[in-house]
């Protein structure tokens, strides 16, 4: 166990540890154990088939394409940078995200978090550093004990459920203030950096923006945030759901990811020329998205419901590119903002309508960030958008 994990355990009098890996669906799996046992362990082990488990807990009938029939154990190594408290736990508990290796040290290629690391390495080979800011949409709903019944919006402080559409309403957010007080406190306890919170289009549909930063850290934060929101909601006898389409006649929830790419050596945003106009790389980035998104769509939604990824009842379609930075009617959108270097840069933000749109939140945050950014990389251009609302 790395030194700083031990120190963290001492500082916070940690009694229990959640040793976590994110699976293909973004579900936290792993082991819970006493802190003392965690400290003694020389690398926790799990079967590699954990990455072939479906969201229903089943396995594909034939797994030969992905895994040796021997079903080898994998070794989990804690990433000391990820150790955090579990603020909703009864006794002092820590969570630590782990990476997965075979006993000979090779990467487990099926592990979503490892994939994100490898994709970030592709950027590094170009001399680039990706910067991302995920925005997560979710609904608050009444507890749904019997899955055969439809979901209902929850009752807030007023004692009533929301009437109609309350986009951007402050009062409608205030309805759930006690819940959001817990969300903010839990996030602070876990170093999840929330930028803004707004009410989205649907009843009790919210969107939270995370501050931009390192892609791996933000994937970890998005992953932790989903647990956090669900836990906070449970305290107030509600569910927080990130499923793509909880209400048939209301807008779905997505996660869109603002992206920019920095030239590592200079800190310059490669999407922008020195005079602030969009660069050639910026246009290639968009072009790559247009070319590769259709093949990448399988990776974007986690769920199965067919039209989810391309529903256009409420939102603009596909990967059309908007012509203006302030136009919202397209899948890929430029947006204004200041880049890290204080240059005003148009970025591209694949709005939910394109990629992420209504993308199943249930996808692993790590995989999603990887997926999204992937295409940009390698020789494929595509990628994704960014918007640099870099909140400097």
């Amino acid at each position: 166990m790395p030194r700083d994990i031990k120190q963290f355990f001492r500082d916070h009098n940690i009694q229990e540890v959640e040793a976590i890996i994110p699976d293909m669906a973004g579900i936290a799996r792993g082991k819970v154990m006493p802190a003392a046992k965690f400290a003694e362990d020389q690398g926790m082990r799990l079967p590699e088939s954990i990455f072939l488990q479906t969201v229903t807990g089943d396995y594909p009938e034939n797994t030969d394409a992905a895994m040796s029939p021997a079903e080898i154990d994998i070794v989990l190594k804690p990433d000391a940078n990820t150790v955090r408290r579990v603020p909703w736990a009864g006794e002092p508990t820590a969570q630590v995200i782990h990476d997965c290796f075979y006993s000979d040290g090779r990467d487990v290629m099926m592990a979503p978090r490892g994939l994100l690391r490898r994709v970030m390495d592709l950027y590094a080979k170009q001399g680039w550093t990706p910067v991302v800011a995920p925005e997560l949409e979710f609904y608050l709903v009444e507890p749904n004990i019997d899955a055969d019944y439809q979901l209902k919006p929850p009752v807030g402080r007023s004692g009533r459920a929301e009437p109609g559409r309350q986009s951007y309403s402050i009062a409608a957010v205030n309805e759930f203030d006690p819940l959001f007080d817990d969300v903010y406190q839990f996030c602070e306890d876990q170093d999840i950096e929330i930028d803004t919170l707004i009410h989205e289009d649907g009843p009790a549909q919210m969107e939270i923006n995370l501050l931009h930063g390192n892609a791996l850290e933000l994937a970890d934060q998005a992953f932790m945030f989903k647990r956090t929101a669900r836990e906070a909601a449970l305290r107030h006898k509600m569910y927080a759901t990130f499923m793509a389409k909880p209400h048939a006649k209301e807008p779905g929830s997505s996660m869109h990811i603002h992206q920019s790419i920095i030239e590592t050596a200079s800190g310059r945003n490669v999407f922008s020329n020195s005079d602030g106009t969009p660069s050639q790389l910026f246009y290639s980035h968009i072009a790559g998205l247009q070319k590769y998104l259709p093949a990448a769509m399988a990776e974007i939604p986690a769920g199965c419901d067919g039209s989810a990824g391309t529903e256009r009842q409420f939102l603009p379609p596909d990967h059309a590119l908007s012509g203006r930075a302030d136009q919202r009617s397209m899948g890929l959108r430029q947006s204004h903002g200041r880049a890290a270097g204080a240059v005003v840069v148009p970025g591209v933000t694949p709005r939910r309508e394109s990629v992420v749109r209504r993308g199943r939140q249930s996808v692993s945050g790590h995989w999603r960030v990887a997926g999204v950014r992937l295409p940009g990389h390698d020789r494929k251009p595509e990628t994704y958008g960014s918007d640099h609302r870099q909140r400097a």
Binding site: A287, Q290, P316, P381
Partner: protein, 78 residues
């Protein structure tokens, strides 16, 4: 970016009435992923193999669900 591609011209009106450009179901999306060698190279064949068989298994189970729409519109009508 590395292929130095050029995007299509920006659309100036609303894109709502344009045809769909992305796959509308998981079957089709998985098929297109498996046919996209550049993406497979980037993600690694091992990951794409694991991911696609998991998605297929999930889709099979999903298709077995009897929906309330079926009970509402077919139960007493067909």
């Amino acid at each position: 970016m590395i292929e130095n591609l050029k995007p299509t011209d920006p659309i100036t009106g609303s894109a709502h009435d344009l045809p769909f450009g992305l796959p509308r179901n998981l079957d089709e999306a998985v098929r297109r992923l498996r046919e996209c060698q550049p993406l497979i190279d980037m993600l690694s064949p091992a990951f794409v193999a694991a991911y696609t068989i998991v998605k297929e298994a999930e889709y099979e189970v999903f298709l077995r669900v009897i929906s309330s729409w079926e009970r509402e519109h077919l139960l007493l009508n067909v």
